[in-house]
Structures are given as C-alpha cells and as structure tokens.
C-alpha cells in the first residue's frame, strides 16, 4: 500500500520536474522573440545600457517612429504584402490548374510530365539565381513586382502537393457533372476547388510565409531601397560603421513578425498541420 502510494507520489514529482524542465526550455526558446518585443519599446538609452535589462523601464514608441524615417518602411510593408501575396495568389491559381490537369484529365505523357515536375524540386533556386536574374533583367523587371513575383508564379512543389490532394477527392461528383455536360473548367472551379480549400489554405500559408521571410530573393531582384521587402530592408540598418541601432531594428523586426503571428493565431491548428503535411508530403 505504502509502496504504491509512494510510487504515485514519485510519478507526480516526475511529472512536475518534467513540466518545469519543459517550461525552462520553452522560455529559452521564447527569449529571442521576447527580446524583440521588449526592445522595440525601449528608449535608446535603455537599449544600450549596461547591465542590460529585459523589460523596458520606460515604454516608448520612438523606435517605431524612427524606423519610418530611417527607411521607407511603409513602402517596404506594402512591398512585402504585394510580393508574398502576389506569389501566393499566382501560385495557387497556376498550380491548381496544372494539378487538375495532372490528376483529372488523363492524357498521353502525363506521368512523364509529373516525373519531370517532381524532379525539378531538387533544384535549389540559389543554384540558378544568376540565369534567372539575367532573364529578369532582360525583361526589364529588376526593381519591379513582376521580377519579384513572376519567376515564382508557379512551383513544382505546389503542383505536386495539389495533385496528390485532388487524387484523393472522390471522382463521382465530377463524373456526374461531366455527364450533365459541365465543362472541365466549370468542374475545376465549382466542384474540385471548393472541396480542396484545406489543401489550398495549407499551400497558401506555406508559400506566403516562405516568401515573406525570404532574404536572398528580394536582395537579388531589387537594388532600389524602396522596392525591397521588410526582410531585405531591415538588413540595411546594419551600416558599415558596425554600430547597430538595435531598438529600431527590433521595432522593424516586430512589424515583420506580427502579420505572420496574427495569421498563426487565426489558423494555428491548420498552420502546424500544414507544416507537418508539407514536410511529410
């Protein structure tokens, strides 16, 4: 009896220790995010004070006003939305069209085409950046949204991912519609797409986050400050002098993270599941 209750007690203590250990780990993981949030609201004197503190003594919005004077930040925010949103929208439309053809319209060579598309997944964009840049330059698209968006307006992963999802949808519905004389586009738009909303949302989130956070891409395709994104713009703050205006940088970083954080809060479950399913394919 005593041994049983002491084992229960030991289990309780074990659980408690486990919980505390995880809490410590989670706090450490959160530290960089916490430092962004708090530093963004600190006055300059506190940002550069020794010994450093975590929580601001005085809360101020100075860093936020300064980021809008040091960088064309309103424009950068707009650019980030247009770039990441544009890529996401185009990719969803073009990928789903192609995926529909590959999943639903049997045609000669569809398997070969699929293999070629999947194979292109293995090409890292960093390795083909120079010819892509040359093309974009040839079209006169450097420093334009076209240059940022069009090369990414369709991607192999999205096509493959949506094709797999379309295959999992029952064919009875679209066959019934076909007998009724509905066109392929009609079936695609009114039957397959509405049933694929979860997959489209998943792919949309994945694409948006990746592009919003990308640094190398906007760095290469924009040379004018006012065509950059938030991510690429912020890197301009670290001047060659080596003096880093941390407060302003954290304010900018906070603004960069907030839209994704809001999106994350709204679609938290889907967000995490989407990561798992894109990872697992």
């Amino acid at each position: 009896m005593t041994s049983l209750s002491s084992r229960v007690a030991a289990r309780r203590v074990g659980s408690g220790l486990f919980f505390v250990a995880m809490l410590v780990v989670a706090l450490l993981v959160l530290l960089p995010i916490v430092i962004i949030v708090f530093t963004a609201f600190k006055p300059v004197a506190e940002v550069n004070a020794f010994p450093p503190s975590l929580v601001p003594g005085d809360w101020t919005l100075d860093n936020f006003t300064r980021i809008f004077t040091e960088l064309p930040f309103a424009r950068l925010i707009l650019n980030s939305f247009v770039f990441a949103g544009g890529v996401t929208l185009c990719a969803l439309v073009f990928d789903s069209l192609a995926a529909y053809a590959l999943a639903r319209m049997d045609f000669r060579g569809s398997r070969v085409l699929l293999v070629i598309i999947v194979a292109s997944l293995m090409i890292p964009f960093q390795a083909t950046l120079i010819p892509i840049y040359q093309l974009v330059a040839e079209f006169g698209w450097v420093n334009t949204f076209w240059g940022l968006i069009i090369p990414r307006a369709a991607d192999a992963f999205g096509i493959f991912f949506l094709r797999q999802f379309f295959l999992s949808l029952p064919r009875d519905l679209d066959n019934a519609a076909r007998i009724d004389g509905a066109s392929e586009f009609r079936i695609f738009r009114s039957i397959v797409l509405p049933n694929a909303v979860p997959a489209l949302l998943t792919l949309g989130i994945y694409t948006f986050v990746n592009n919003w956070n990308d640094l190398l891409w906007p760095l290469v395709f924009t040379t004018k400050q006012e065509m950059g994104t938030i991510t690429s713009g912020l890197t301009l703050l670290t001047g060659p002098s080596g003096i880093v205006p941390y407060g302003v940088m954290m304010a900018g970083s906070l603004i960069a993270v907030v839209p994704l954080a809001v999106m994350f809060l709204f679609v938290q479950r889907r967000f995490i599941e989407s990561v798992a399913s894109t990872g697992l394919k």
């Binding site: 659980s15 486990f18 919980f19 995880m22 959160l30 960089p32 995010i33 430092i35 962004i36 020794f50 010994p51 439309v93 069209l97 192609a98 529909y100 053809a101 319209m105 049997d106 045609f107 598309i117 292109s120 293995m122 090409i123 890292p124 960093q126 390795a127 083909t128 120079i130 010819p131 892509i132 040359q134 093309l135 090369p151 990414r152 307006a153 369709a154 192999a156 076909r178 007998i179 004389g181 695609f188 956070n213 990308d214 640094l215 190398l216 760095l219 991510t231 912020l234 670290t238 880093v244 941390y246 940088m249 954290m250 993270v257 994704l260 967000f271 995490i272 990561v275 990872g279 394919k281």
Partner: protein, 315 residues
C-alpha cells in the same frame, strides 16, 4: 507503367457524346488540357529548367554581364576546386552542416517526444509555443540573437558573465562565429523538424509501448527498440532535408557576419552571391552553383529513395 495506349480506359468527353465529330472533340480536349497546364509549365520552363541549362553553359564561360563572353572550358571548375578561399567556403559549409543538422535534429526529436507525452501538462500550449520560431525569418532571428549576444549590451552575454562564462564577441571570433550562426539556424529550424517528428511519433501505435512495458522494458529500452526503429524513415527524411537546408545557408550569415571574420563563415551560397552579384564573375559563380546543385541533387535522390521506401512500408 507502359505508355498509354488505346486499350487504356479513357473518359470520353461530352463533346463526343453531343454528336460532334470525334476528331474535333479530341482536338478540343487537347487544347483544354494545354490551357490548364500552360501557365504553370511556362513559368517552370522559363524560370527553372532554362536557368538550369543556362547556368551550365555559363559555367564554361568567362561571362561578366558585360561584353562578349568566351568559352574557357573547365577553367572555372578548376578554380572552384583549387582557389583556397573557395575550397574553404565549401569546407565552411560542411562545418556548418555538421554543427547545424545534428543539433537541430536531436533537439527536434527530444522536444517532439516531450510534447507527444501524455504525462506533460498543458501539452497543447507547449506545442504552439515551441512552434513559434518557425514564423520568424532567419534574418529577424539573426537580429535578435545578435542583440542577445552583443559583447557590450547583450542580455545573454551578461547572464553568462554572471555565471562566470565569458564568451566575448562571438561574431568577431573566427572559431566561435560559425557555431553562433549555426545556433541561430537551429533555433529557427527545429520547430519544423519537431512537427515532422511529432507526426511520425503519432503514427506509432501505443499498443507497441504497452507490450514493451509488459515485457519489462524501461524508458530507454522502449526508445531504443520501439521509437527509433519505427521512426527510422522519418528520421532519414529529416536528416536529408536538414542537410540540404544547411548547404543553402545564407540569410543569418549575411546579416550577422557577412562571411567574416576572416572568411570563417563564408559559405557556398554566400560565395555565389558575392561572386555572381557583387564581383559579377558570372561564369565562376555558375560553376560554383553547379557544385551546389549536384550536391543537392545527390541528397535529394537519397531522400527520394527513403521516401519511396517509406511509402512502400506504409502500404
């Protein structure tokens, strides 16, 4: 599967049922299929496949973006494998991969097991919480860590000093700079791998653990003999994608060290960016790009075989 022939059951489009000639119906259908595929295929052809060939061609030239380019044979490739700076950037990339991948994977697996354990109170909260770094860009993560580790005003640096650990200016230290930029990537990337592991863990039937317990297996033995073997393919997948990600290291290095000090954090992609977009040595940068491409391709093929094996196991 053999090439599709007439024997394969094919859906007959309504146009044919509607009394129009089969020839016209078939042509119309081909046109339809083409219309669905055209936008995506045009983009992929122009911005993925053509650049792949173009980069290969460029890698044999002395292209600089100006004037006429000449074919110089393997000269760029010879330079890639003999120039000490470039060889070093490849070595640095491997060092980065060795520092980053194992740390990120082990951390991800441990935390996935923790947030999968029914004994952890507030499991759901931890899942959300630990996932948060995923939404932070590597560049922004780099800013935050740079401030935390600042030798004068960094909070983490100060806390370590309180415990008697002096790390100094890690980003100016040729030995410590690389582990530091790897640490930032570990922080940013482990949530993704953790979620992939979590999905894998959830597929292991709990009856196996019950059975192992009945046989008197302790926690370590259950991990060794149940978790690890059943997670094998997931682990293989994570190892490959983490390694591929490591080969592409750029963002936080660009922000935190710019490749320094003394080129100690200069990676292959940093070098491609430098050679291709700063020095405008397009031919040379393309040759280096191809080394990256081939390395990635090899890893991807390994991954492909692991994934297909996993699918075979699953069915």
């Amino acid at each position: 599967m053999t090439a599709p022939t007439a024997s394969r059951p094919r859906y007959r489009p309504p146009a044919q049922l509607g009394g129009r000639g089969p020839i016209r119906g078939r042509a119309k259908r081909r046109l339809q299929i083409a219309a669905f595929l055209a936008p995506a295929l045009a983009i992929l052809a122009l911005f993925v496949f053509w650049p792949m060939l173009s980069a290969l061609r460029l890698s044999f030239t002395d292209a600089s973006g100006f004037g006429r380019e000449q074919y110089i044979g393997l000269e760029n490739y010879v330079e890639v494998f003999t120039d000490p700076d470039i060889v070093r950037s490849m070595g640095n990339t491997l060092l980065y991969a060795v520092l980053f991948a194992p740390a990120a994977i082990v951390l991800a697996l441990l935390l996935a097991m923790a947030i999968n354990s029914p004994r952890l109170p507030l499991r759901g909260v931890f899942r959300t919480w630990l996932f948060l770094p995923f939404i932070v860009s590597l560049a922004v993560a780099a800013f935050a860590w740079q401030y935390l580790l600042d030798p004068q005003v960094g909070l983490l640096n100060y806390w370590l000093q309180v415990f008697g650990v002096r790390i100094g200016n890690v980003l100016q230290d040729p030995v410590l700079a690389m582990p530091t930029v790897a640490l930032v990537a570990v922080w940013k990337s482990f949530p993704f791998y953790m979620i992939v592991f979590l999905a894998g863990l959830q597929e292991i039937p709990s009856s196996l653990y019950e059975a192992a317990k009945m046989d008197g297996a302790g926690p370590w033995s259950r991990f060794r003999n149940v978790t690890l073997p059943l997670l094998g393919n997931t682990t293989g997948f994570v190892v490959i994608i983490a390694t591929i990600a490591a080969l592409q290291a750029f963002d936080q290095i660009y922000v935190m060290t710019g490749g320094g000090p003394y080129k100690s954090t200069q990676t292959v992609v940093m070098q491609i960016y430098q050679s291709g977009f700063k020095d405008l040595d397009l031919g040379f940068a393309s040759a280096l790009s191809y080394v990256l491409l081939v390395a990635t391709l090899v890893l991807s093929l390994v991954q492909f075989f692991i994934t297909s094996r996993r699918e075979k196991d699953a069915s």
